[in-house]
Amino acid sequence: MATNVYMEALSPTMEEGRVVKWHKRDGDPVKTGETLAEVETDKAVMDLVARADGVLRQVAAAEGQTVAVGSVVAVIVAPGENVGATAAAATPATSSGSGKREGGNVATAAAPAPVAVAPLPTVAPADATRVKASPLARRMAKEAGVDLKLVTGSGPGGRVVKKDLERAPSPGTPAAPGATVAAPFPVSRVLPPERTGAAYQDVPLTQIRKTIAKRLATSLGPIPHFFLTTEVDMERASEARDALNKQLGDQGGKVSFNDIIIKATAHALTKHPACNAWFQEDHIRYWHEVHIGMAVAVEDGLITPVIRNAELQSLADIGREAKELAERARNRRLQPNEYTGATFSVSNLGMFDIDQFTAVINPPEAGIIAVGSIVQKAVVVDGQPAVRRRMRITMSCDHRVIDGATGAAFLKTLKQMLENPLAMLL
């Protein structure tokens, strides 16, 4: 009895997956639970495991190919069993599925298919990715290099019409302000232009870029954001950090400013539960636990791994966990439970010499702190001019949950804690 191997939904938001590498080849014996292939989801690279014992046959998705969740990518048959018409061809999820894309971050683009894919006897399933579009819209999209799948159709039944194409930004136009704030990391994935004479280069969206686009568009548009900025004196925090790191010494692991900020934020949130909340359309969920989402730049995007119960953890623990999560995020090895469930987020661009910025709220969270760089400034302290290390933080608030005074009160507590780290011990 043959068992189909499906492209599984390996993350909650996954709609399609790209086969990065087959660990088993056609004809290899496999056991239940064994890794068959690595699959790039919208968030990370995950393992696709065998759900039966037997022999892997009819591998229908080549390395580098993107297929829709639910498509059959292979079958597992009993040893010696004749393979019948059980497997269907994997449904390509995008037209550019077979590794032609440039600047890709998985496998080798031109990797040869692991096995010669035998022509499958079944009729290919109906193309679920067919886009309804008028002939004029198709012609315009082709000319402009716009992927019709990414255009929302306003015609009858969601048909893409001329008007929608006139609205769609052509590739190469600067992204919307929201997107710039959200993905400011200088990760260059577009290759320097080669001398091909072409005016532009079309790079298909990766899974993570698609998710970023979808998620952020549900934030800055619908959520009534407002922003609060304050400047924090980091002199004492710097001193504390130096002292702590000296103490940690050769035990390994160092406390970063970011760890201190996460700790202070978590602590301040316990004192201002009104800011530690999710907007849930018909109700607001106020969290008793504090889970801090920490924006991490990865190649081609960003992801926010979550430091759970940050309010209960020591600075050293936060430091270790943050470092490990960031590392795994960059290697795209995060498990879904490691990047979901944050109650509040922190985004830090201090290392890029950004003085101050605004971050986009990650719904359903109601707030996010945007942290700028620490710079030495001449300020007046106790009536005397002094040079102090200063840092600007900006809080983005969802006004449906947090009002101006509520946010300001929280920010004041956070500022106090950073300016006097000992207060966190209270």
Binding site: S134, P135, L136, A137, R139, M140, E143, P156, V161, K162
Partner: protein, 463 residues
Amino acid sequence: MANSFDVIILGGGPAGYVAAIRAAQLGLSTAVIEKEKLGGVCVNIGCIPTKALLHSAYIASLLREAKEFGVEAGAVKTDYGVAMQRSRKVSDQNSKGVEFLMKKNKVTVVKGAGVLQSGRKVKVGNDVYEAKKAVLIATGSRVKGLPQIGLEINKTTVISSDEALFLEKAPASMAIIGAGAVGMEFANIFHAFGTKVILIEALPRILPLEDAEASDTLAKSYKKRGIEVIAGAKVKKGTAAKDKVTLEVEASGATQKIEVATVLMAAGRAVNTENIGLAECGVQVTDRGFIKVDQNLQTTAPGYYAIGDVAGPPMLAHKGMREGVTVAELVAGKKPHPIKYDNVPSVTYCHPEVASIGLTEDQCKERKLDYVAGRFPFSANGRARGTGETEGFVKILRDKKYGEIVGAHIVGGHASEIIHELAVARENEYTVEEVELAIHAHPTMSEAVAQAALDSLGRVVDM
């Protein structure tokens, strides 16, 4: 309450009765208030009876040419009175048809003149009707004269289409002022019934809203058959006597005196917005006199909508009908497809017929569009040769880059029927290539559409 409905529609013309049927289909209790006959101007004194008369005119002209086709009909005698009586029957049938549709859809018809009141109420006589959801204003329009030059409609020597449709006899001579659709059609009708017709247009060409090539073709055709056409003409003065009218007309720098038995005023229409209580309900009108509406055709008074001629140009029955459907669906909580006002076909039913959609070539030039014109004359169309309807052409204006059909113009027999292929194409954003790819039956007049599309692509076959 007997006098309470979901929707009350003031006016039972094309916009009103279609809105009523659609509202009823969607389960809304609906009433239509009409002071005259159901069907409005269109059914009773507009589109429908004129089409009947035009067909009489067409038969007359066919018979006059019948000999050439091997049919001897003898001396052709015409009788406008008989044609008029037939046209009345056609109108009455259609009005009864609307009445039947109201019954079938359980729409209440209230006879009388309605006056709007605030609170979505309409007063008819002593009765007050209340709309729970919406009041639709569909009071339409009427012809207007030019009193400023002494040409007030007196209904005997200076008439409008309202009177022309009821004449017992075709007058010996007639000056028609205004060469839009109405003027063109009546010129055609009366000329066929033996009247000496002089067609006077203030703008530089007849059918001023159509493509210049269409105007030229019609001007030639009319002159050839003996209709006098004076375009770019100013009627300086009109003097109506008991059995004749004298006009002073200035054209091409010279003033001439024209004496005719009848003057037919076919210049412009006025909307019926007086004495229906608009101001009392807070319904405002525009500078041009139309009712001010938003994108959803809602007036400045919430709950009051305007559809049809009162809601603004183009003042065409089919545009009003679409507005009626759209507002009925909106009121029923549906999300209707937005009306594409740039895709309303315009038809003049004179012979040859003129039908168009989208931009004229002059408009393409004004807008500096990068366009290509494709043309095909009916003189090169087999079917047209067979029926002797070789006048006219199909002209398609397409966007140069993508092939979008930006405008289409047809002059010829059955142009009114042929235009819809291009209306469907434009509504669905088919380009000239899709139009050409559809196989057209041979021999048909419609083949000229495919050929014009091909011509715009530089690949015309039959020419």
